[in-house]
Symmetry: D3
Subunit: 241 residues, 6 copies
């Protein structure tokens, strides 16, 4: 089984961390490989970033289809480009946000989300609404940190900011599960879980395991109506993509 | 990894079919075993049946906890006893209905559900509401068949009834994914999928794969508030349970 | 007219208090009598407790049907077993929670609920969702007290905890009506009402009056589909029930 | 206990029928009396009618307050003027629509409403939304009949139209309870119930019994914020009102 | 194009301010004129006030229809009488509240509303629900000021109260747009906007521009069902109206 | 006042028709000019099309900002790229879908939408959900026609298909207003309105008039959080854009 982890941004260190953490969690027979776009944005922190990143997601899935990929994980909180990717792919495409939300619902009555930076709250809310899970969301919180900081090696400051906000979520939201609203934070899951005493979810890992499960069941993206193959391929317009 | 498939009813043939279909889909390192209650109801088709079946679900999870089980799948459309089971269990407990709903959302924009018999529509609707997915449900349909018929060997009539209703769902609901609202139908997934051309989901398999994924990530049921361990064990009151 | 008050737990003092407060409020021609299960849980504070208590509710309604009871009131916040009881009963079955919610809506634009202990908030929320009244609920609060304390004679501490939380609800939720989220507190209604200056509702009394009203109108539980008589009686499996 | 039935329109035959049917259902100690406005509209079938009728409702409650009335029932589907009446009254004010909706929820999982004429569907929907019960409403139907026809002695044609629509509701909506969306039809409840085999609810009777119950419990309209006494009385501007 | 600004209350100073601010914003070819009822209430601060004011709104629209008015703006937060006015009018009728809500949604992801006095929050919530915009409302706030104060010349105290509450909304609700929940405050828009740095919306101006737009497109109120012309005219009953 | 009409696709004939119909409806002092992207898709009929078109929308707004444009109208049903455009623009950005929905709500209690082709229903539903107007939508319908057909001169067949579907909407949805779910159909508004007898809304015109109104009031896009200016400009990566 081949599963492609799609980094929507162009930051190589981030792609490498995705690859690393995915390999730790992938099942024995699963080949996982992380890719990134040739052109695009170094991080996804706005609707304009999302527009640029979406093209890179589509291009990566097109390449994956040529390479016999069975399923895709889109590693961006906000699930950028997932709907378009579903049109291109035959197999399942899983966004890290929807995977995190659904996993959280299986483990507790409510969850809080901590995302970053604050202007991206609207992206998290969009997925929350699509998944119908507003009533299970005890709190939607943001810390005032740039996404780049998720992608750095030394992120003690980021950890502390997450921990502080998580304690606030536990106290005020009474959340039963915590969702980390940024890709590339899988190393923080275990220490946060120890500190908080509740399940902490990294959406990339959650999406990878859901992708494995759907492929094992032989399930593919429905081509009936909304996610049918796209009527045209416009990638040739942009040489470097 | 040990995963227990919980049959809430007392019908042995049904337990055996669960065991059979689960083994076909379980990952290499997963030990799956299906159990059933010592006392209870031969099928779950009413709120009263659910009340009796819930005790059996709790008792099975208690046994599982003593046997080092890592996660549980409750194999009853309506997710009978899942909330109580979450209190008893340390690891994840997955209902087949919630697993089916979440899987469907990863594969298409909308889904239809076909359950049986009509009086159990209220149970399906209850899970749909808890999961917040009414807006993704294109149709909630029932065929006028007893649950026992799901549990028989020769179920050509049941298949035909499902196929007819599924064609109606495709034509009138414009659903993009189909969910089978009864456990023990995994053999029908493939022929229905071939006939309909859209993904067809068996919730038991979906729940098993989600359980495997959560265990692989080291995630357990949150013990913060709603699903904390129960304040007392009353099983001793009922000798044969 | 015979109305049976169903105590889902096995605490006799609590049953006696139900009987006492119901007689004060019952209409001239109404015979009310409170019953309790032979086996079960001393209080209902978890989903597991609810599972055990549900059987006792069913058994009590079965006895009531044999005794010509016209309607039932289930005296447990969370309306434990009400759906199953509706299947067994011919006449109306009223949960104290739904009765409290509907009564509150007739007296003010919004209400707050104070229940106990915190882990049972999920049960209150379940009824709130079934009744569609989330938008009328100004606050859903819990005090950290065991249900047993509702059942004791000397409950000055409980009264003070309720009063403090009620003042917080009035100040922060701006609620217009207060609902007491525990059975057996009818004696506190009047002092709380005096202290707060807003209507305070005891769900057991509210349910009793609604039951009287429905019986007077000749209305019974609908047997069309969801609450049709159950397909089998399994009580014989459990001798002492 | 004194309960005033408020007919928002000026049709005397209708007031008399309210009085008649209320007396049949009122408890032993309840004095019920139906009143009507001095000025207003012969029936309430539009928003403009509602505007005129609201003044009459207010004026009747003002008179009732002077006469020591304990509670009020507003006998108009759409609950015309109920919010304003709550400001004027000390005791409870119950709209026939909200009472019908809440009663239906106590007897079945879903209900259908048949109102008239079609242009008043928006009034029924307004109350349905205020009560949050859209998810319990299996169908909102209208027959093309004027309200006047509800107010006539010989209404065999109206009965037949209701019966036909009710059969359609039963077949297509799968409703478990039926609500009659017009005051003054209490005589049709029993024959419809016999013909359909499901509970049929007349909102005026339902409201009367709820009013009795609230008064018995000593509950009054909350004067905290939304329904506080109105800041001025403008009735003197209109001599004949 | 003739657009009538309907002041639902009888306070002349308020009508004059409406006229003044409307003329500043009206398009070149638009004739705007503000009117007020002959009888009614000096301000609209309760449901009873709304009942009286609705008649005045209807009467003003009736006069407008006789005078060839193309569209109407109802200048009362809560949109008092708008539904009835739509029945009487041929052209569009726009409430200041709905216009403010829709405008806010075009300028930001969320908005807060500041209305007055607190007891009128229920009126704002009613329109919010009709427009389905609860999920876009970051905060619904009230200041404890009488409506009369909106109508005075010297309103520095009102401005300060609004400013303080607006700063609270910005800090705690994280609103992106602010709506002023009272007519006659158009002069405060600019200073508040300067102080806050986010768009501030006066619903009367918003409604006027929407009315101009609809008339320019030749669009009129739908007469199909809900807002069809009313079945009767009852104004003659009340000589002075 | 300068308002730019943004055609998200590359079809020149369509841009010209936008220009033509906008000039007919623009106010005297409004300069309107329609633009199209240099690169992109000939029509927007899928999520992949939307991804490509979004870049063109952003680029056009960037050009507009350099040219002193006061407001933008995005002429694509589904409001492709509107959120990203709001980040780039100082002034308001109005999507034709949201403008149509809000206008419809001002003219009737409910509306139906006819869009095309069926696979784009998901885009219409997305905007409907963002605007919270599912409860006002009587029907969401699609005709099986390619978007190109909206862009042709001779579209008698398209008109007939719309008319047939509109008659079905009127009969079965009981809609009070009709929304045309495709840009470039403004010429059909008047004949459809004549044939149906209810208001018919072209979203492009509605958006243009709302844009004029917001500019006249001096309102701009909120730069507080969600639509703040984007953190980087990546257009230089793609030379021809």
């Amino acid at each position: 089984m081949r599963i492609q982890l799609i980094n929507p941004n162009t930051t190589r260190a981030f792609t490498e961390r995705l690859q690393h953490s995915a390999q730790l969690i992938a099942a024995a027979g699963t080949e996982v490989f992380a890719t990134q776009p040739r052109l695009g944005t170094p991080s996804v922190e706005s609707h304009v970033d999302e527009a640029w990143a979406s093209l890179g997601v589509i291009a990566q899935v097109q390449d994956g289809e040529a390479n016999g990929v069975d399923a895709y994980v889109v590693a961006c909180f906000g699930d950028t480009g997932v709907a378009a990717a579903r049109e291109v792919a035959r197999g399942p495409v899983i966004g890290m946000t929807e995977a995190a939300l659904f996993s959280a619902c299986l483990l507790g009555a409510s969850f809080s989300i901590i995302t970053l930076p604050p202007r991206t709250l609207i992206h998290a809310r969009r997925v929350l609404n699509e998944c119908g899970l507003q009533h299970r969301c005890a709190g939607l919180r943001a810390i005032d940190v740039q996404v780049d900081d998720c992608q750095e090696e030394d992120n003690a400051a980021l950890y502390q900011a997450l921990l502080d906000e998580a304690h606030a979520a536990l106290a005020h939201d009474r959340c039963e599960v915590l969702i980390l609203g940024c890709a590339g934070l899988s190393e923080m899951v275990e220490p946060l879980q120890q500190a908080l005493g509740i399940p902490v979810i990294d959406g990339v890992c959650a999406a990878l395991k859901m992708a494995e499960g759907l492929v094992a069941m032989g399930l593919k993206t429905s081509k009936h109506s909304s996610f049918d193959f796209p009527p045209r391929d416009l990638r040739a317009q942009w040489p470097g993509l």
